[in-house]
C-alpha cells in the first residue's frame, strides 16, 4: 500500500467519524444530559455535562415508567408471535410457489405497506370498543401484526430463498407433503433467519406510537412511547426525567438492532424493490 492511499483511506474514515458524530448528536446529547438533574441542566446548559448523577434514573422508580415498560413488552411480544407465525407461512409460500393468488397477495402486501393506517384506525376503534379491546393490549397486538406483516414476510421470504429446494424435493419424492416438508426440513434450518425476523417484528412494535396512542388511552395500559408522550405534555420542564426515560426506552432498541443490523439490507431492499 502506498503512503498516498493510506492517508486517503484514513482521511476518509476521519471524515465519516465526524459525520456519524454530527448525525447522532441529538441522541448523544440526550443520553449525556439525562445524567444531570433538571436543576443542573437548567442552571448550566453546557453541551457536555460537568458532573454526572443517576438521580433521574432512580427517580423513574416513582413514575409509571415500569408499568409502561411491562405493557410495551406484552404488546411487542404478542405482536411478534402473531406476525412472525403468519409471515413465515406466507414467506414460504411466496418463496416456493408461483400462481395468481400469490401475485395478488404480493400486490396486497405492497398496498398495505403504503396504506394510510388512520383509515383503518377509525373504524377499528368503533369495532373494538364494544368488544372491550380499547385500553387492552389485544387491540394493539392485532393491528401491529398487520402493520408488520409486509416487511416481515418479505424478510422471511428472502431468507427461505437462500435455503436450497433440493432438500425438500428429496422429502417430496419420499411421499411427504409440502407443508410437512416445510415444518420438518425447512423450518429447523431457518433458526438464524427466524431470529432476525422476530427481532425486527419486535423492534417495530416496541417503537410504534400512532396506533398505541389511538387505542391505549389510560395510564395503566399505555406503552412506553405513549406514556412518555403524556409525561412530555404535562411536565414539559422536567427535562432530566424526560431524557432519562427516553434514553432508557432507546436502550433495548439499540441493543437488539446491533444483533440484526447485518440482515437489514436484505429486508429493506426486498421490501422496497421486489414489491
Amino acid at each position: 500500500m502506498t503512503n498516498d492511499t493510506f492517508f486517503k483511506r484514513w482521511g476518509l474514515a476521519g471524515l465519516m467519524a465526524v459525520i456519524c458524530l454530527l448525525v447522532n448528536l441529538p441522541i448523544i446529547l440526550m443520553a449525556l444530559n439525562s445524567l444531570q438533574t433538571t436543576e443542573q441542566i437548567l442552571a448550566s446548559r453546557n453541551i457536555i455535562p460537568a458532573s454526572f448523577s443517576l438521580a433521574n434514573y432512580q427517580g423513574l422508580t416513582n413514575t409509571p415508567f415500569f408499568t409502561y415498560l411491562r405493557n410495551s413488552l406484552v404488546v411487542s411480544l404478542g405482536a411478534t408471535a402473531f406476525s412472525v407465525t403468519a409471515a413465515i407461512l406466507g414467506g414460504y409460500a411466496l418463496s416456493r410457489f408461483r400462481n395468481g393468488l400469490l401475485n395478488a397477495y404480493s400486490t396486497a402486501l405492497f398496498a398495505v405497506q403504503m396504506f394510510p393506517i388512520i383509515l383503518a384506525l377509525i373504524p377499528l376503534f368503533l369495532l373494538f370498543r364494544p368488544l372491550g379491546f380499547i385500553n387492552s393490549p389485544v387491540s394493539v397486538i392485532i393491528v401491529y401484526s398487520v402493520v408488520n406483516l409486509p416487511f416481515v414476510t418479505w424478510m422471511a421470504r428472502s431468507y427461505f430463498d437462500t435455503i436450497p429446494r433440493e432438500l425438500e424435493e428429496a422429502a417430496l419424492i419420499d411421499g411427504c407433503g409440502h407443508i410437512e416438508a416445510f415444518f420438518r426440513i425447512v423450518l429447523p434450518l431457518s433458526g438464524p433467519g427466524l431470529a432476525a425476523v422476530s427481532i425486527f417484528a419486535f423492534l417495530f412494535s416496541y417503537n410504534e406510537f400512532f396506533v398505541a396512542n389511538v387505542f391505549l388511552r389510560n395510564a395503566e395500559a399505555m406503552t412506553l412511547p405513549v406514556g412518555i408522550q403524556m409525561f412530555m405534555q404535562q411536565f414539559s420542564t422536567d427535562w432530566g426525567s424526560l431524557m432519562a426515560a427516553a434514553t432508557l426506552t432507546m436502550l433495548p432498541t439499540l441493543v437488539l438492532f446491533l444483533f440484526v443490523q447485518k440482515f437489514i439490507t436484505h429486508g429493506a431492499m426486498a421490501g422496497g424493490v421486489k414489491g
Binding site: 474514515a13 471524515l15 459525520i19 407461512l89 416456493r96 393468488l101 403504503m114 373504524p123 406510537f209 400512532f210
Partner: protein, 304 residues
C-alpha cells in the same frame, strides 16, 4: 350438438376444478390463510366500513345517519383542509429532496474503501431505528427555548435567539429537518445496495474512454440507479404523507395548526372533535391524494 357442448363445457370445468384442487394451488392457499385473514379483519373490512362512515354524521359514541357527500363538500370548503394539504405537499417534497441528496451523498462515501466502514454504516442507521418518541425528545431539547443548543450557536454568531416551536415558519422547518433526519438512512441503505450492484466493467469502460470521475458519475452511476431512485421516491412520498408521529409529537400539529398534515387533521376530527364522518372523509381524501401521486410517479417511471 347441445349435449356435446355440455360435455365440453363440463370437462373444461372439471379441468379448472382440478387446477384449484391441485397441491400447487391448495398448499400456498393454506399457507397464506392466516395472513389473508389478518388483512381482511384489520384492513379490508375497516376500510369498507370507513368508506361508509365518510358518508354519515356519526360520533364516536353513536352511529350517525347517511348524509351523502356532505362531509366531503364541507371538508373542501374548510381553509384548515387546504392548509394541511399544502403542508403535506411541502413536507413530502422537502423530505424527498433532502433524503435523496443526503442519502446519495452518504451512500457514495460509504461505498469507498476505508477502515471501519461497517461500523459507520451501522452508526448512520441509528436515527432511523430509534423510536419516534425518542428522536422527538432529543430534537426538542436542542430547539426548545432561548438557551437550547441551536440558540446557543446562533447567539455565538451574534444572532438573536429564535423561538423555533412557537413561530409557524420555524416549526415547519424543524419538523421537516427532523423528518429528513429520521428517514434518510433508509434512502442511504437502499441506494448503497443499488450502487454496489452496478457492474464494475461499466466504470472500466468509461475510464478507458477517458471519462472523468464526474462524467462517469453522471453517465454511468445516475442512469444505473434511476429506476430504483424513482421507486424509493415513491415510497418516501407515501411514508411522508402518512406520517403522524413527527408533526404530532413535536407540537401536536401546532403552533396554530402550522404543522398539521392530513393525517393529523383526520385524527383531530375523529378523536378530538368526535366527528367520525369528517375524520373518515379526511382519511379517504388522503388515500385519493396518495393514489394520484403513485399513479403520476409510476407514469413517470414508465415513460423513462
Amino acid at each position: 350438438m347441445n349435449a356435446a357442448l355440455d360435455t365440453k363445457e363440463a370437462s373444461a370445468w372439471r379441468i379448472r376444478a382440478r387446477q384449484f384442487l391441485a397441491p400447487e394451488f391448495v398448499t400456498p392457499a393454506i399457507l397464506l390463510a392466516p395472513s389473508i385473514l389478518l388483512l381482511l379483519v384489520v384492513i379490508a373490512y375497516p376500510m369498507l366500513q370507513g368508506f361508509y362512515f365518510s358518508f354519515t354524521d356519526g360520533l364516536l359514541m353513536k352511529s350517525g345517519d347517511f348524509v351523502g357527500i356532505a362531509n366531503y363538500t364541507k371538508l373542501l370548503s374548510q381553509p384548515a383542509f387546504w392548509h394541511s394539504l399544502r403542508f403535506s405537499a411541502i413536507f413530502a417534497a422537502c423530505n424527498i429532496v433532502g433524503c435523496y441528496l443526503l442519502g446519495l451523498g452518504l451512500a457514495l462515501l460509504l461505498q469507498m474503501d476505508m477502515p471501519g466502514r461497517g461500523a459507520f454504516r451501522v452508526l448512520l442507521l441509528l436515527p432511523w431505528i430509534v423510536p419516534s418518541l425518542v428522536s422527538i425528545v432529543s430534537w426538542r431539547w436542542m430547539v426548545n427555548d432561548e438557551r437550547a443548543l441551536f440558540n446557543q450557536i446562533i447567539t455565538l454568531f451574534g444572532g438573536d435567539p429564535i423561538f423555533f416551536l412557537s413561530d409557524s415558519n420555524w416549526a415547519v422547518t424543524i419538523v421537516i429537518l427532523i423528518k429528513i433526519w429520521r428517514s434518510f438512512p433508509f434512502m442511504m441503505l437502499s441506494l448503497l445496495a443499488a450502487l454496489q450492484s452496478i457492474d464494475r466493467s461499466l466504470y472500466e469502460a468509461a475510464a478507458i474512454d477517458g471519462a472523468t470521475r464526474w462524467q462517469s458519475f453522471w453517465n454511468v452511476t445516475l442512469p444505473q440507479i434511476k429506476n430504483i431512485s424513482i421507486v424509493l421516491c415513491l415510497l418516501m412520498t407515501i411514508w411522508s404523507v402518512n406520517d403522524f408521529d413527527t408533526p404530532w409529537l413535536l407540537a401536536q400539529g401546532g403552533p396554530a395548526n402550522a404543522t398539521e398534515n392530513l393525517v393529523v387533521l383526520a385524527y383531530r376530527y375523529t378523536f378530538a372533535r368526535n366527528d367520525v364522518g369528517m375524520g373518515a372523509a379526511t382519511s379517504f381524501i388522503t388515500l385519493f391524494v396518495l393514489m394520484a401521486l403513485v399513479f403520476f410517479l409510476l407514469r413517470l417511471q414508465r415513460r423513462s
